[in-house]
Structure formats: C-alpha cells, structure tokens
C-alpha cells in the first residue's frame, strides 16, 4: 500500500501559476482529480509522476521524493494523456519492451495484456489501433510491473461507452486490491461513477476534497440561475417569488425573459412547473444560465 503526498506544492511557468499551494494526500483506493480544462490537473499528475519539479513544496511517495528518483518507478505506473507511443511496434512488442525496461520478461507482458484483454490484437501495429485500444495497451504498459500506484491522465478521453465501462471496472478492481489509483477528468459524472474520493482543482487551487456525495451536494446546492420565458412573465414572477426557494427575479426587457436566481435547486425544479400549471401559464423557455463546468467549479472555490 502506498500513499502519495503533495505538500504545499506550487508550480509556475514564467509568470503563469499553474498550481498554487496545493496540499493533498492520495491514499490507496480510487481517487478522482476533477477540474476544468487548464485547472492544473496535468501539471499535478506530471509532478506526481516525477516529470516536473515543483517550484516550491514537495511531492513524495511513502516519504520518498519522486523528482529525479528513477527508483520510484518500481512502484508507479503511468498512463499519460498524450497519444504518442511507439507506433511502429505491435502492441505485444510495446508491452514486452516496457516489461524489459522493468527487468521483467515476456510472461509479465502477457499477463498485463491479458488484464486489459488486448491479446486478440497484440500482434497488430499500434498505428492501426483505435483510441480505446491504445488506451488499453497504455494501461498494460503501466501495469506490467504490478505497481502499487497508478496515475492516469484523462484516461477516458475519446473512449466509447463500452470501453469506458470496461476501464472503470478495471480501475475499480485495482483500487479494491489496495492500489493507489489516481485519475484526472473534467467530467463530474465520470469521476463520481468511479472514485470514492475526489480532489477538485480549479485555476491551480485546491477547491474541494473528500467524498463525492459531499462535493456533489456542494455543487447542487449552490444558487442556480435560470432564464425563463413564458406567456405571462409578470404573473409567473409574482408566484415564484412567494416561495423561499427563489432568491430573486429580474425582468429582462431586452431578452423578453425572467432571470431567476434559485437557492434551493431541488425545490425550485419542482416549483416552477407546478406554479405554471396552477396559474395557467405556458412556459416557453427554461434554460440554466450558469451551468458551465467553470461556473460550477468557481462556486466551489468560493464556497
């Protein structure tokens, strides 16, 4: 069992701060690193994988610094986001080469290929592989030495639903076996399906940490904004504002719509259609105006 510790880590590139004073502990089990694109997830994973030195702070595996420590790769398996592999090799040749670089042989490579169920295509050139097949061979190369830590950068990108489900199942089992599995994603649903523990990073800052239910609640309970059009905006506004789930309503003359701020998401979503029906108002448009992931994450940072 291995534990990764990130202790007051910052990383900047010139004047740009990619990671800002982050402290987190990644324990055995599956952890999801969640954040919008450009949040600093890859920078964090690169530091955990020993491919980037922190500008300040330390990144350690069981107390040992990872940066410039080739020995740590005996315990770490890495699945990079980038597509490039050795495309001129077959899948088997690629995994065997990875095994040999760990001082292992063909048996370890065969076991890893079986684990990701790629034996059927192992003698085809990697250049002929689909995105999902590449991802599985990358997984095999990372698993070949049976590492206690597995780092995956956006592993589900470009995978079809079936491949995604298979990979999730595999990662879940890896976590159940006591491995420390960390994967990054910018899709909340992806993370909550797989990870019992979530670390949220927004704009280089550590926004939230903990059980996915707690974070999901934080995300759901935030004030929501809606743009609503109906055949009687003023009557609708009057009926909605009487309920405590609605914090404010603005009549937007230019748009010909109501801008509604709801504080109780669940209650408001039930209230709106009921009020419309009771008052004989026809709803023409109901559109959330701040549902972008960035705005959800921004709220988390402020929360």
């Amino acid at each position: 069992m291995s534990t990764l510790r990130i202790d007051h880590v910052s990383r900047w590139f010139g004047n740009v701060v990619a990671v800002n004073d982050i402290t987190m502990t990644i324990a055995p089990g599956v952890t999801g690193l969640l954040g919008p694109n450009g949040a600093g997830k890859s920078t964090l994973i690169n530091m955990m994988g020993g491919f980037l030195a922190p500008s300040t702070g330390t990144v350690t595996l069981d107390g040992t610094t990872i940066w410039r420590n080739a020995g740590s790769y005996r315990h770490i398996g890495i699945v990079p986001e980038r597509e490039a592999m050795y495309d001129f090799l077959t899948g088997r040749e690629f995994v065997v080469a990875n095994a040999e670089l760990h001082g292992l042989g063909r048996a370890a490579a065969a076991r890893a290929l079986a684990t990701v169920e790629m034996e059927y295509a192992q003698d085809r050139k990697i250049s002929t592989y689909s995105k999902g097949m590449r991802q599985r061979v990358k997984m095999a190369s990372a698993l070949v030495h049976d590492p206690s830590v597995l780092l995956l950068d956006e592993p589900f990108n470009g995978m079809d639903p079936r491949q995604r489900m298979q990979l999730m199942e595999l990662l879940r089992r890896m976590g159940d076996e006591g491995r420390t599995v960390l994967f990054s994603s910018h899709i909340l649903e992806e993370v909550e399906q797989l990870a019992s523990h979530i670390e949220v990073v927004v704009a280089g800052r550590h926004a939230a940490s903990g059980d996915f239910r707690k974070i999901r609640r934080l995300m759901t309970d935030r004030p929501h904004r809606y743009l609503v059009r109906s055949d009687n905006d003023r009557a609708l506004a009057g009926a909605l504002i009487a309920d405590p789930s609605t914090a404010g309503i603005e009549v937007d003359f230019a748009e010909g719509a109501l801008r509604i701020q709801a504080v109780d998401f669940g209650r408001f979503t039930e209230l709106l259609p009921r009020v419309a029906r009771d008052h004989g108002i026809r709803l023409l448009t109901v559109s959330p105006s701040d549902e972008s992931l960035e705005s959800v994450f921004s709220y988390l940072v402020a929360a």
């Binding site: 694109n37 920078t43 690169n46 080739a70 790769y73 770490i76 090799l89």
Partner: protein
C-alpha cells in the same frame, strides 16, 4: 477486463542496473531511427556517393586528387554531418517532441544509461551509413591508392562519434535540433570554416581529418588541426556532450497538455 490475482503478484521489478547499455532502449532507438521517413536520407546519401564514385571512375579513371576531392568535399564535408544530424537528433528528439519518451523515463533505468545507449546506436548508425560507403567509394575511385579510402573511412567513423554526441545533445536541448544541427554542419563547418581559418579549429570535420591524416600517405589528406589536439577535442566534445545530455534528460520536464 480481468485483473491479476492479488495472491500471485509478478516477481518484483529489478533494481536499477548500473550498466551503461540497455538492449531494449537500443532496440527501440534503432527501430525508431530506421522506421521514420527521414531514414530514407540515410540510404539515399551513401547510395548517391557510391553512384557518383562509379560514374567518375568510369569517366575519368582512377585519380587520387579526384578521390580526395570527392571523399573530403562531398563525403566528409556534407554527407557525414548530415547523416550525423539525422541519426543523432533522431535518436532522441522525436521521442521528446511527441512525448513517447515518457515510456522510457518512467522506468527504473538510470537516465545516463538511456543517453549512453542512444549515443551508441546513433554512432553505430552514423558510422554504418557513412564510414562504410566512404570506404567503398574510395576503393571505387582509386583502389585505395595512398590509403586514401581507408583514411577517409576512419575519419568518417571518428567524426560519426563526435557528431552523434553533439547532435544527440541538441536533441535534448531544443525542439529544433535538426535545424541547429544543419546550421552547425553546413553553415559553420562548410561555410564559416572556409572563410575564417580560425573557425576550422572548432570543426569536427578537421579533427577527424587530423586522425585520417596519420593513416593516409604523406600529403594525401590535410587538416588544420594536429593529431594530439584533434584527439583531445574529439574526446572532450564527445564526453562533455554526452554528460550534459544525460543531465538534460535527468531534469527533463514534460509540459502538460493544458
């Protein structure tokens, strides 16, 4: 998907070995070098040299001056550095550019082993595609009269070592290693070296000629650098470039996609 049984884990990975050569790194490098499109130049240039040698021999007969002109001008002056650029930068540059080097670096293999192995492969490829064709062309041109063929072939082999180390280093420093390599090989060595006599002292080509000079008959080859200095510079540049490339690889950072 299935998983490995937790009760029967594979044998633990071996500790990093102190060996300077890793056969798997060599195999990957060799296949990557000869598998890319630019490898066509590796075959085309030596073929061109041999064809030119055959044509000249047929048209003008055996002539030592012509042989020296072809082997010193085209072969050692242009072909060897070009092949050095392709093999030296190609041994590591593309892997760093596309990020696939991560599969080598994320292993318990010392980075110095990776660099040294890649250097040996680059030297092997450069020497094979330059020294051997030079020897063949030399024999075709004048039948190794005055040891010209052997002398230039040895000079090409010696130059292969220094060029490989230098261009391998370029591959770890910049994404534009090929451009820098070509600038050094063609502008510095061929152009500046001809205009500014002092610049010739800092030319791999001249150092290699300094070695070849000792093998060829008296006056068959000429170099601006004497043998002891040539050997010191060849060894010094090769060792320093390899050491620094190893340092660069140890501290190589992979920027994220973000």
């Amino acid at each position: 998907m299935s998983t490995t049984s937790p009760t029967a884990p594979p044998a633990p990975a071996a500790a990093p070995k102190a060996a300077l050569f890793h056969p798997t790194v060599a195999r990957l490098t060799y296949r990557a070098l000869l598998g890319r499109r630019r490898a066509l130049i590796l075959f085309a240039l030596p073929a061109m040299l041999v064809v030119i040698a055959i044509i000249i021999r047929v048209l003008t007969g055996a002539d030592d001056t012509t042989a020296s002109g072809i082997l010193g001008g085209f072969a050692l002056g242009t072909m060897v550095p070009l092949i050095g650029v392709i093999a030296g930068t190609g041994a590591i540059g593309p892997e760093i550019d596309d990020g696939s080097v991560v599969y080598l670096l994320a292993k318990p293999v010392p980075r110095s082993t990776i660099i040294f192995t890649k250097l040996l492969v680059a030297i092997g490829v450069t020497a094979a595609f330059s020294a051997i064709p030079v020897l063949v062309a030399g024999f075709v041109l004048n039948g190794n009269s005055q040891q010209i063929a052997v002398a230039y072939a040895v000079a090409a082999a010696v130059a292969s070592v220094a060029y490989s180390a230098l261009f391998l280093l370029f591959g770890t420093i910049t994404r534009h290693a090929v451009v820098f390599g070509l600038v050094y090989a063609l502008v510095w060595e061929a152009f500046v070296g001809n205009l500014v006599p002092g610049a010739r002292t800092l030319s791999v080509q001249q150092w290699a000629l300094g070695v070849g000079q000792k093998i060829g008959a008296e006056g068959a080859l000429s170099s601006d650098v004497h043998l002891p200095l040539a050997i010191c510079l060849l060894v010094g540049v090769t060792a320093t470039a390899t050491w620094y490339a190893g340092r660069r690889l140890k501290a190589l950072t992979l920027a994220g996609e973000e």
